[in-house]
Symmetry: C2
Subunit: 392 residues, 2 copies
């Protein structure tokens, strides 16, 4: 077991109609001039954006809006947001949407409060020393960015997708109303559930420092998400299942399910980041398409954890060798992905990747992680290429 | 499922030697003149207090000390601390110890930053609007006060023990080094483990709003504490078991294991508060002495939860009626208490309570909760008396 720091200062307001408290929460955290940052038209069509701006107007809080955050959010819009905030004297950011809007807002917040090019942080050259205060209204359960320290931005030039983590970027508040997620297309719900599972799985498959307390929470979370994802597939308007998945999404990436271990593996995420950068796929689907190939490549190096996962999470009977049990667990999660109409390889993801594409991704991934990385198994460029190949 | 707010801004620094970061953390949260508040002589004898004051001196942070916080911490010392802080211009509190020192420090913090008598808050007459910033070095895993919003103070006059909860009182940071708890007497370790279990059990046995995600975390936490408490009974110097219990202690009372439900039951705590006020018993032992009698009195009114507890936490086989399973679960937890040398009734707690004592406690408890309270079963004064009688 390793020492750890756990810091999740985000005030969560969870439940039906929670967005009614937006103005009160912005005031509580000192906001007076707000940039509302969002993605596409869904928050306009649903009426959510109008409800929020009405609330701010009623409460005398001035605001600007900036839409257009896309999945794998782009650096260009971040620069635009930074300029806008500086020009207009914005002192609070409100992201309305999912991980794209939240991550983009975090990057804007770093850019406004730190000198120089914000991309430096994502390029691992410098560390941020501040961030504009940020509040969030979550509209999809997925990235957990509403409580996490991380954000992921894609630079258009060379399609480079990079994540940056800093406690400064943790939102001041997160408003979570499960009803806001009820109208999501099934595919997006499934992608979100996959991302949620992966945030805990990346922390779970490690070779160091595991803690019973953390494992118990992680396994409980994984079982809850799998169960409720299947409920939502049959019954997308089920409030309780929406709520279970939504709260799990925050807990899965706020640090709770990794306390005491070596920091986690994270290579499925790293491999997916290159896929997302090059082909612009939905993050959750990309993770599902790669996970099985990653798991089969590494499980023998991390057998006790894969066995435990199979038994405690996927209900695999304790019969046969550890290796057999572990492989059944991997298969069971892939079966779950298929039931959720998630891809389990690149072909099912709709991507025809050439050998050159795979080499490009493996090379960029290796450079991105500084040569080699991983805990379940340390992967170098050759290993990465082998996993990409296996996932075709 | 109900809506909820979850807010745990405390920065946790966990692991061997974590106390080395004390000065850095005090600075991070703006402290320059510190009152170090502690309990008895154990932090002096262990050398911890000296290590901490050396650190502050090396870092140019001025400080005062105030010892003497006792189990069921007293109002008189709180008043003394408030006067001292005001006189000396203290701007940061550092509690070194367990729940007694932390709760006492919270009360001092309310008293320094709010007008009027601090007891008003504990007497439910007013709400605090601020608290001095507070950091904590935890030396016993028990109350979870290091991340919680609550503190419990006893007024000497009439021996009235009351709790007050406010987000203002949540510590800014909590330093948790499991090694600091290794030298605790077995009895105190057992009392602490009982208190930890009870903070989640009070939230678990409810008749409203249960959430799968929360139940999964709660059950995982309960199993982890029970398992590791038994390890510590045989092997008190086991670092990993100390760490498991310590981290569980914080998570058990920071709100995590109650998200989505009706707020919990809390009547075992309320009944114990009167016991602790009148007889000054160790809080954890008092809870163990009362829980079985409470559980047998209420379980039929909350049968699905007691059944679930029996199966998912206490590993009771699914055989017989729900009632039989529930009763086996209650018995199993009492058996655990006995294995930990915890009392399961007042006699084993070493208390000879007269009928008049019981009536006095039941009356004070009923007044304290405003007549009647509870979720597993709503208890009035008569019910409280019946439970006290059954616990003799």
């Amino acid at each position: 077991m390793f020492g750890f720091q756990y810091y999740t200062p985000t005030k969560v307001v969870f439940g039906r109609g929670a967005e009614a408290r937006t103005a009160e929460l912005i005031r509580e955290f000192g906001g007076s001039k707000v940039l509302i940052h969002y993605g596409g038209g869904s928050v306009i069509r649903s009426g959510l954006l109008k409800r929020v701006t009405d609330l701010l107007e009623e409460n005398g809080i001035s605001y600007l809006t900036l839409g257009g955050a896309v999945p794998n959010p782009r650096l260009k819009l971040v620069y635009e947001g930074i300029e806008l905030c500086k020009r207009e004297g914005v002192d609070f950011l409100l992201a309305v949407g999912g991980g794209s809007a939240i991550d983009s807002a975090k990057a804007i917040g770093y850019g406004v409060t730190n000198e120089g090019d914000v991309w430096d942080f994502y390029d691992y050259r410098r560390k941020a020393k501040a961030c504009l205060p940020l509040g969030v209204i979550v509209t999809i359960a997925a990235t957990g960015s509403e409580m996490s320290d991380s954000s992921v931005i894609t630079r258009e030039e060379g399609l480079v997708k990079r994540g940056y983590s800093s406690d400064y970027g943790r939102p001041k508040f997160a408003i979570m109303d499960p009803e806001l997620t009820m109208t999501l297309p099934d595919y997006q719900t499934a992608c979100g559930c996959t991302d949620i599972l992966m945030h805990t799985l990346e922390r779970y498959f490690t070779n160091g420092g595991n803690m019973e307390m953390t494992d118990a929470l992680a396994e409980g979370l994984l079982r809850t998400v799998i169960k409720n994802a299947l409920i939502l597939k049959a019954d997308p308007m089920n409030y309780d299942a929406r709520a279970e998945v939504m709260w799990a999404g925050s807990l899965s990436h706020n640090g709770l399910t990794g306390c005491g271990n070596d920091g986690g593996d994270w290579m499925t995420h790293k491999l997916e980041h290159e896929l997302g950068g090059l082909f612009d796929v939905a993050h959750g689907a990309g993770l599902a398409a790669l996970w099985g190939s990653w798991a089969r490549y590494v499980y023998q190096n991390c057998l006790p954890r894969f066995r435990r996962f199979a038994v405690n999470v996927m209900d695999v009977p304790v019969e046969g060798t550890d290796e057999e049990i572990a492989l059944k667990g991997i298969r069971a999660l892939e079966d779950f992905f298929r039931r959720m109409n998630m891809p389990t390889n690149l072909r099912e993801l709709g991507i025809t990747a050439t050998e050159e594409d795979l080499r490009t991704m493996a090379h960029k991934c290796a450079v991105g992680v500084g040569g080699a990385k991983g805990s379940a198994r340390v992967l170098n460029e050759e290993d990465m290429l082998a996993i990409y190949r296996a996932s075709r």
